[in-house]
């Protein structure tokens, strides 16, 4: 191949040592210094086993496949895309060098063969196509790992390991922006055909070859999987707008009143700031809705979690996570049945200036006001003050209600409280028309998360919106009348002049 001829592995080695070895290791074994904090771990190049290929299962990838992973990175992992970070030449050089780590690439008689994928048949977004896709989702067993609703919570999910024995999650099919091989229907179809080598995800090509399934039916499955994610990846909007509702406050997570309320997405990342740090958070983000009445507020936090912890089925996974991911402990932690947790954080009072308490659970001198919910006592939340990540003092008469539902890999928890607070010194009084700082913290007990091991967000804002007062409409109406009048005047004047001219 011409591509190979121009590649220089000694130049590739320089690029590799500078930019890749930190994760993938000097010898390509996936054991660089960053590896001990990563799930999934960096690729071990010595085995030449690659997830993202255009070739049949078990085969080597093509150069184009490898270049794609280098260029685009692997979404949902720590691997970034290098397209805009390294030159074309550097990326091709490093590609050639990566191949030298495995003897499998040395055998040039076996050139990897790209599969015939064909094109997506038409009609893939209709209800009938999705029904067919869903039917095969069930019948060929996708749900075994990915779960009934596709959130990676199937019965086999807790047992999954990669080839090296590291824990691995079945993909949450509702987050296509985190799919390692890309988000599109075509990407999904290719992964179904090739499998993700090195992971538990097999190839489904034999089903077509042995006439158990047609290509169109497998495309339908890919289209169904694609339909589970939003059309576009969620965009972070800083302010949660909580409209005023005149009806009763929706306290149940599945109250139909929530359907009419706008939803806001906030990404969460590992708590890597304070000892003991946590590099492998399971909760990737929260979807938040809020409404208020004249006297109370309801905040619904929804997040995907593969397990309703504590769940002993996940103990094996938990042990593997603790064995794989290093933290700051001197001795390795022992698995235990920890619950899931959600923390909603506010300042103690609405700040007037820019200044706020420290986002990561306040500090000894500047506490934060928090609502804490755990799956151990589903229908209750505790209000209290956090003074740093390790100190939480619950408040008597906290007055926070909680209702929770766990449904096929998703928690939906509604927090409720009166707007006014009896103890304004420590319990935030909610006021409408103000930007109230808010932050979220999530813990998945079955993933080893407890104490300081959690997923965190930074400060965002909650605004209790007032209905638009009538006086707001006065000036637009006035402006419109004025414009219309002026316009008509201009027309009238022009017509007058013309007719005058004609008469002359």
């Amino acid at each position: 191949m011409a591509l190979v001829a121009t590649q220089d592995t000694s130049a590739g080695k320089q690029v590799y040592t500078k930019w890749c070895a930190g994760c993938h290791g000097d010898n390509g074994a996936g054991d660089g210094p960053a590896a001990r904090h990563m799930i999934p771990p960096p690729r071990d190049f010595t085995g030449a086993v690659y997830q993202i290929r255009s070739t049949a299962n078990g085969q080597l990838p093509t150069d184009a496949d490898l270049l794609r992973s280098i260029d685009e990175g692997l979404p949902g992992t720590a691997m970034p895309g290098w397209k805009n970070r390294l030159s074309d030449r550097q990326r091709r050089d490093v590609l050639a060098y990566i191949k030298t780590f495995s003897t499998f690439f040395a055998d040039t008689t076996q050139r990897p063969q790209v599969l015939e994928f064909g094109k997506e048949p038409g009609g893939g977004t209709g209800a009938e196509a999705l029904r067919v896709g869903r039917q095969f989702y069930d019948s060929i067993g996708c749900r075994k790992c990915h779960g009934d609703q596709g959130r990676g919570d199937g019965p086999s999910a807790p047992t999954l390991k990669d080839d090296a024995g590291h824990p691995i999650f079945a993909a949450n099919l509702h987050e296509n922006w985190r799919f390692n091989g890309g988000p599109t229907t075509t990407d999904i179809y290719h992964r179904l055909r090739t499998g993700l080598d090195g992971t538990p995800m097999p190839s489904f090509s034999d089903l077509i070859d042995q006439k158990f399934l047609t290509e169109t039916e497998l495309w339908r499955l890919a289209e169904y999987v694609r339909s589970l994610s939003p059309g576009e990846p969620p965009v972070v909007r800083d302010v949660i707008h909580a409209p005023l509702v005149t009806r009763v406050l929706p306290r149940a997570p599945d109250d139909s009143a929530w359907n009419a309320v706008d939803t806001y997405w906030f990404p969460l990342v590992g708590q890597v700031i304070h000892k003991n740090r946590w590099f492998a958070p399971a909760v990737t983000g929260v979807w938040v809705k809020a409404v208020h009445t004249r006297d109370s507020i309801a905040l619904r936090v929804t997040w995907d979690d593969r397990s309703a912890s504590p769940d002993s089925a996940w103990l094996g996974h938990l042990g593997r996570v603790l064995a794989t991911v290093q933290s700051d402990d001197s001795t390795r932690e022992q698995p235990a049945l920890w619950p899931d947790q959600m923390v909603v954080e506010f300042p103690v009072t609405i700040p007037t200036g820019m200044e706020r308490p420290y986002f990561l659970m306040g500090s000894s001198s500047g506490p934060v006001y928090q609502w804490r919910w755990t799956s151990a006592s589903r229908s209750a939340a505790v209000a209290g003050l956090a003074r740093g990540i390790e100190r939480f003092d619950s408040l008597p008469r906290g007055g926070v209600g909680a209702r929770a539902v766990y449904d096929h890999g998703q928690w939906r928890v509604v927090f409720t409280r009166a707007l006014a607070s009896l103890d304004t010194a420590s319990q935030l009084p909610f006021r409408s028309g103000r930007a109230i700082p808010v932050a979220f913290f999530a813990l998945d007990g079955s993933n080893g998360e407890h104490g300081t091991r959690m997923a965190v967000s930074t400060w965002y804002f909650l605004a209790l919106d007032e209905p638009v007062p009538a006086r707001v409409f006065i000036s637009p109406v006035l402006a419109m009348l004025l414009t219309l009048g002026l316009g008509m005047l201009v027309v009238w004047r022009a017509q007058q002049k013309t007719s005058y001219r004609r008469q002359q």
Partner: protein, 259 residues
């Protein structure tokens, strides 16, 4: 068709459309460019409009021809529908814009943050007083540089990668969840502008160690003195400059300034 192309009014309209396409679609597609903000688009379009008006009014005949279609819309009986539509559209637009202006909506408060606040003259590092003023990286003067860099490389990849990224450009896989975004060391506005002692201070004391103008309540930067030794921090500072190719500001050069 040709008569339209020759008509100054339609030429002016065409120029405006071309300018709009250029600003909104072509400029962001150029390498190294970003999407043009709406307010800037408005400014550019106003400038183009003024230019076009000067051009059409430059020549008396052209000006008269230019006005013709406008005048026709105002007076021609056969254009009554268009006249009414234009009048209604303008009125509605004004109403919407006014409503957008007067409607109260809660927005996130402006986040005014000093990116490189003035450092203290000295800090206490694990009980030891370190004077920052005039301080250079002590590792540049002692021991094996390659060994220091190897330590710095290891420290960086063990600790910094999730936020600051493999390419040191502040785009680690956690970056999108943080605000303010992690520092981009490849950018010429960060470590390239700073002395090594400043970087040492930022690493050692992290977000909580920022002065008020640095919005310490928002920063996710850990106070690394809780995790790393003094030498380890100096090694990673060394690594940041080596890996990006930037040179630290030196005290000789900046002695005249207050930094």
């Amino acid at each position: 068709m040709r008569s339209y192309l020759r008509h100054p009014f339609w030429q002016a309209v065409g120029l405006m459309v071309i300018a709009y396409i250029l600003i909104v679609f072509i400029i962001p597609a150029l390498p190294g460019s970003a999407v043009v903000p709406k307010s800037v688009v408005l400014q550019y379009m106003a400038t183009v409009l003024v230019g076009v008006l000067i051009w059409v009014s430059d020549d008396e005949a052209r000006w008269t021809t230019f006005k013709e279609p406008l005048h026709d819309v105002l007076v021609q009986p056969r254009l009554k529908v268009i006249r009414t539509a234009v009048l209604a559209a303008v009125t509605l637009m004004v109403g919407c814009i006014t409503y957008g202006q007067v409607k109260a909506s809660v927005a996130a408060p402006p986040n005014l943050r000093s990116i490189h606040p003035a450092p203290p003259s000295q800090i206490t590092f694990r009980g030891k007083t370190i004077t920052l003023v005039g301080l250079d990286n002590p590792l540049r003067r002692s021991g094996d540089m390659a060994a220091h860099l190897a330590v710095g490389h290891r420290i960086y990849y063990e600790n910094c990668v999730p936020c600051h990224g493999d390419h040191l450009d502040g785009q680690g896989h956690y970056a999108s969840g943080l605000n303010p975004l992690p520092a981009n060391f490849q950018d010429n506005g960060t470590i390239a502008q700073l002395t090594e002692s400043f970087v040492f201070w930022r690493v050692a004391k992290g977000g909580p160690g920022l002065p008020r103008e640095g919005t310490p309540w928002n920063s996710a930067m850990p106070a690394w003195e809780d995790f790393l030794t003094e030498d380890e921090i100096w090694s990673v500072v060394l690594f940041l400059y080596e890996q990006t190719g930037w040179k630290p500001r030196t005290w000789e050069v900046s002695a005249g300034g207050s930094k």
